[in-house]
């Protein structure tokens, strides 16, 4: 029996290759996640990083709706942010968002599907190439990633695919853009329903130049609702929004600021 257990452990080691050395919690992880080692390797590689409250992650500590867990990332307390990665250590698909703010503020809100209790983290890359990692634990009954999207219970969901609602709000020195796109955002983990999700969202100025870019993954919730902010000082008159899903559908519209 003991021999068999050792053999199994050895096989697991082989399957995971060089990762085995980094698996498990690390003493410095404030969330004491069993999967932090792998998350660090997968998302940050060998780059320097620090756990940092300046990257604030606001979300409920318990997920009431496993298919729509809201979160808001705010990294404006860092001086310069090149990129923000959002991921959940214990979701079957870890990556949620990969945000390149560009001329947008390093602020972002969205919703994700939670499969079980997990840390939700945001890692912000500063101008010196160092990652700043914030996050919190979200408790959950679970099942959000393997349940079919509600759209599949509607007869006409394809007719409204990609419909985009958008509205702009004035917030102290910034314009806040909230937009919602009708899309099932299928993870591919619900039986018989292949992965079908928006992969990319680009915000552009009137000249078509990119303001900021967001790569979105399967765990982003159905009919995703995104919140972006851009400095009022940019003096933009309109913003173009362009989304593309993994089936090549492109949805675009403009909004006047």
């Amino acid at each position: 029996m003991i021999a068999r257990r050792a053999l199994l452990a050895g096989m697991a080691g082989l399957a995971m290759g060089p990762r085995i050395g980094r698996a498990g919690p690390t003493p410095d992880d404030p969330l004491q996640s069993v999967n932090w080692g792998l998350m660090r390797e997968a998302f940050l590689g060998d780059a320097p990083f620090v756990f940092d409250d300046k990257v604030s992650v606001t979300a409920p500590t318990s997920a009431e709706d496993a298919m729509q867990v809201p979160f808001l990332i705010d990294a404006t307390r860092l001086s310069r942010v090149l990129r923000i990665l959002v991921f959940a250590d214990l979701n079957p698909i870890n990556r949620i968002l990969d945000f390149t703010p560009g001329r947008l503020a390093p602020v972002l809100a969205a919703r994700f599907k939670i499969q079980q209790a997990t840390p939700l983290r945001a890692a912000a890359l500063d101008g010196q190439g160092r990652w700043h990692v914030g996050g919190l634990w979200i408790d959950a009954m679970g099942g959000g990633c393997t349940a079919p999207a509600l759209a599949h219970g509607e007869a006409d969901w394809t007719a409204r695919l990609g419909e985009t609602s958008v509205r702009v709000f004035d917030r102290e020195g910034r314009k806040r853009i909230r937009l919602q796109i009708r899309h099932p955002m299928d993870t591919g983990l619900a039986a018989g329903i292949p992965a079908f999700f928006i992969e990319q969202l680009v915000l552009t100025d009137a000249a078509g130049e990119v303001l900021g870019e967001l790569a979105t993954s399967e765990p982003v919730s159905e009919n995703p609702l995104f919140t972006f902010e851009l400095p009022t000082a940019l003096g933009l008159s309109e913003v173009g929004i362009r989304a593309r899903d993994n089936n090549g559908n492109v949805f675009s519209r403009k909004v006047t600021l």
Binding site: M1, T58, P60, E64, Q68, P70
Partner: protein, 307 residues
């Protein structure tokens, strides 16, 4: 080693079943023939076994009318045993006020007597996803053993119903869920409001429609009861539970509407300060966070779609 494990397995199989969770239920006489079995003003926990709810019973000349059966099979059994300490009359009818698990999962203990609800409540329980029960098992644990979710077998219609010298009025409302049954005992003046009324405990909103709930409260006021038994919280003369529930619902509607109009995200409003009159209610912060998940998306959609 294998043999030892096998022997241990046999020993486990042979051991007597675990003792049932002890709910320590007590019946509080609140009017002639009328008893309240108060629950804790908490969330589901292992320590409370899911007993976060009020159940009640009326001992009529023709048997006992039970209002709601509680959160688990064992609760239902212990409620039945408690009733037997008060009267030796049989159970005549169990009324389920609405399709929330803490109110009807004790039905299994009343399989030999009529258990009834509004038709829409029966349909809601029929359609209840198994995940709801899984969630309660996860929170409550062993006290849920043997509990299953079955729709009541019989329907009741709104209107008068006289049993054993008590003139009941059944009132079909909605707003807390798609179907909420209120029961007025005209003989004693006691109104069993189900979860249309909360007192000293924050209202829950998983299936709530605020406007319809407010309309239901108007109907309850018009009944002019002498005493109101809320679904959660102490029994008290009107208008305490009705006023508190109404004020909270109005505040929710105003607050969530204003937040959506300002473009706030759900994650941001979780931490909004609660006004002093609600901050002191039991489980206020937790229920507000749940309500944001239940109700805020519709407020957001309304603001986003009128561009």
């Amino acid at each position: 080693m294998k043999r030892a494990a096998f022997a241990l397995g046999l020993a486990l199989l042979a051991s007597p079943p675990a003792l049932a969770f002890d709910y320590a239920l007590r019946a509080e006489k609140i009017a002639e023939d009328t008893y309240l079995v108060p629950g804790r003003m908490e969330h589901f926990t292992r320590a409370n076994g899911g007993n976060i709810v009020n159940t009640a019973f009326v001992v009529t000349g023709d048997g006992v009318v039970v209002i709601d059966s509680g959160p688990s099979l064992d609760y239902g059994r212990q409620l039945r045993a408690l009733i037997a300490t008060v009267t030796d009359r049989p159970i005549r009818l169990v009324l389920v006020t609405h399709a929330h698990p803490d109110h009807y999962l004790g039905d299994g203990a009343f399989a030999d007597v009529p258990v009834a609800a509004l038709p829409a409540t029966r349909a809601e329980i029929e359609a209840m996803p198994g995940a709801i029960l899984d969630g309660i098992y996860r929170l409550v644990g062993d006290a849920m053993a043997g509990t299953s979710s079955e729709p009541p077998r019989e329907s009741v219609a709104p209107g008068p119903m006289t049993i054993g010298g008590h003139d009941f009025e059944l009132i079909a409302l909605d707003g807390h869920t798609a179907a909420d049954l209120a029961v007025l005992d005209r003989t004693t003046g006691v109104l069993f409001a189900g979860d249309l009324a909360f007192l000293a405990r924050t209202p829950t909103t998983p299936q709530a429609d605020i406007d319809r709930w407010l309309a239901a409260l108007v109907r309850l006021r018009a009944l002019s009861p002498l005493l109101i038994v809320p679904g959660h919280g102490p029994a008290a003369p009107p208008p305490a539970a009705l006023d508190q529930t109404e004020a909270y619902l109005r505040w929710l509607k105003q607050t969530l509407g204003a937040a959506a109009a300002e473009g706030r995200d759900a994650a941001e409003i979780l931490a909004l300060p609660l006004p002093p009159e609600f901050a002191g209610l039991a489980v206020a912060r937790e229920e507000f966070a749940r309500t944001v998940a239940h109700l805020y998306p519709a407020f957001e959609r309304a603001v986003l779609s009128d561009d």
